[in-house]
């Protein structure tokens, strides 16, 4: 019994390490690869690795690596939360795990209906990945969500899902849905269909990126201001970053903490609304019944 308890605790510690180590590794990589320069600049993700591929070169960038680190961290978080689940909840982490599952289930049920109940892990994954990616900037790492490619990938997946559910009622029905309500609106319908993923991607990316840009601009402005005021002081004191103490933290709370979580929620919300709006179970059932009838008629004809 005691030995079992011991191994349980050791596993706990290992899982916690699995959560923390990827983030620490991210910080180490960042420190090692950042060239020593005090200039504040606005750039995209650093490119670690370049692979020759047909259409475009495959670039392994900071944002890719960071999102993998986040994924590993979330994996260990899940393992940690579900470690030692019991019918009678004894540990706080079990309550947290139950809370997460029940809340996402509720959210999906409310916004998408019972047909899409299986979507709750997907929405949970989306929320977790987006929120944790944005929150990486709190650790001084490059947030993957401020890379358009990352968010575009998620938006593309959502677009594929929307199209899949629209196609479920037959390809003809799908094509016909573009000519509604009037046929001359078809180009507009096509545009709005394509605009959906693009607007989703740019909304998320733009929010996080603009937060970083505004933070950087304010930080550099404050740096200039303190240089201007303390110019007369001798030596290193002249470069003392007086106004950079504290003030950027307020912006960080808004742009990194609040905006990051809010954008994750908005992205997940839009995903749910678009997917559930692209499909109605009644129509699908009618389509299935019609198909069945034609099949039986064909058989009868034979």
């Amino acid at each position: 019994m005691k030995g079992k308890n011991h191994s349980f605790k050791i596993k706990d510690i290992l899982l916690l390490l699995g959560m923390i180590l990827p983030l620490a590794a991210g910080i180490v990589i960042k420190v090692l690869t950042t060239p020593a320069s005090d200039g504040i600049e606005i750039t995209g993700a650093r490119i670690f690795f370049r692979l020759k591929l047909p259409v475009q070169d495959l670039l392994i960038t900071e944002s890719q690596v960071n999102s993998w680190l986040v994924m590993i961290s979330i994996l260990f978080l899940c393992l940690f939360l579900t470690h030692g689940l019991k019918e009678k909840a004894e540990k706080k982490r079990q309550l947290i795990a139950e809370w997460i599952v029940e809340k996402t289930d509720d959210l999906v049920q409310k916004n998408m209906g019972p047909y899409f109940a299986g979507f709750s892990p997907f929405i949970g994954a989306m929320l977790a990945l987006s929120a944790f990616s944005s929150l990486l900037s709190l650790l001084g790492l490059f947030p993957p969500t401020s890379d358009l490619n990352i968010v575009a990938g998620w938006a593309l997946l959502v677009f594929l899902l929307i199209s899949y559910y629209k196609m479920k009622c037959g390809p003809l029905h799908y094509l016909k849905s573009f000519t509604e309500p009037v046929s001359f609106l078809t180009p507009l319908n096509v545009i709005s269909e394509i605009a959906t993923p693009i607007s989703m991607a740019f909304r998320h990316y733009g929010n996080v990126m603009s937060g970083a840009v505004v933070s950087t601009l304010v930080a550099s402005a404050l740096q200039g201001l303190s240089l201007l005021l303390l110019r007369w002081l001798p030596g290193a004191l002249a470069k003392f970053p007086l106004f950079q103490i504290g003030l950027p933290a307020v912006l960080s709370v808004y742009f990194d903490l609040f905006s990051g979580c809010l954008q994750a929620f908005i992205f997940a919300m839009l995903t749910m609304l678009y997917i559930s709006g692209s499909f109605s179970p009644d129509e699908y059932n009618a389509y299935k019944a019609r198909k069945k009838r034609t099949v039986t008629q064909a058989k009868g004809g034979c």
Partner: protein, 171 residues
């Protein structure tokens, strides 16, 4: 080290990110949702079982209570019946004893009356006899000769009867 532009599009990166999201979906499904749902299901089952057991125990207790109540009621009725029976018997006993006593008393009274009447009669007769005897002796002495006892008896008797009637009438 090179950096990307602020806005750059790379198909492979987009694909990788798409796959990342799918992977994380699978991770969450396998390592968070499945175990938690399984545990919740199990908990629901045990709770259902507990509720069922509680319901069964309650119905059993109810039936036991009903049984005991009915038993108590029957016991009450029995006790009542026994009491009534005992009362009836006591009443009957009392009645019979009373009757017997009354009878006995009546008999005793009758006996006493009869005895008294008999004694009265006897005394009367004796007194008659004595009167007759006395009167006969007196008459003998007065007259000086023997009177026919038979005649004498008849005369006295009639006299006494008259006297007795007179006496009865006065009473």
């Amino acid at each position: 080290m090179q950096t990307l532009d602020v806005i750059s599009v790379n198909i492979w990166q987009i694909l990788i990110s798409l796959i990342n999201l799918l992977l994380l979906f699978l991770i969450l499904k396998h390592f968070l949702y499945r175990p938690v749902k399984k545990m919740l299901e199990q908990r629901r089952k045990t709770l259902d079982a507990a509720y069922e057991a509680a319901d069964a125990a309650k119905t059993e207790a109810d039936s036991l209570k009903k049984e005991w109540k009915s038993r108590m009621r029957s016991a009450d009725a029995e006790a009542k019946a026994i009491m009534e029976k005992a009362e009836k018997r006591a009443e009957a006993d009392r009645e019979t004893i009373l009757n017997e006593t009354r009878e006995k008393a009546d008999q005793m009274v009758r006996q006493a009356k009869a005895d008294a009447a008999f004694a009265y009669k006897k005394a009367e007769d004796q007194m008659k006899q004595e009167i007759i005897d006395v009167s006969a002796k007196i008459s003998e002495k007065i007259i000086g000769r023997e009177i026919n006892t038979e005649d004498h008896h008849a005369i006295i008797n009639s006299f006494l009867d008259e006297m007795g009637e007179d006496h009865d009438g006065k009473q």
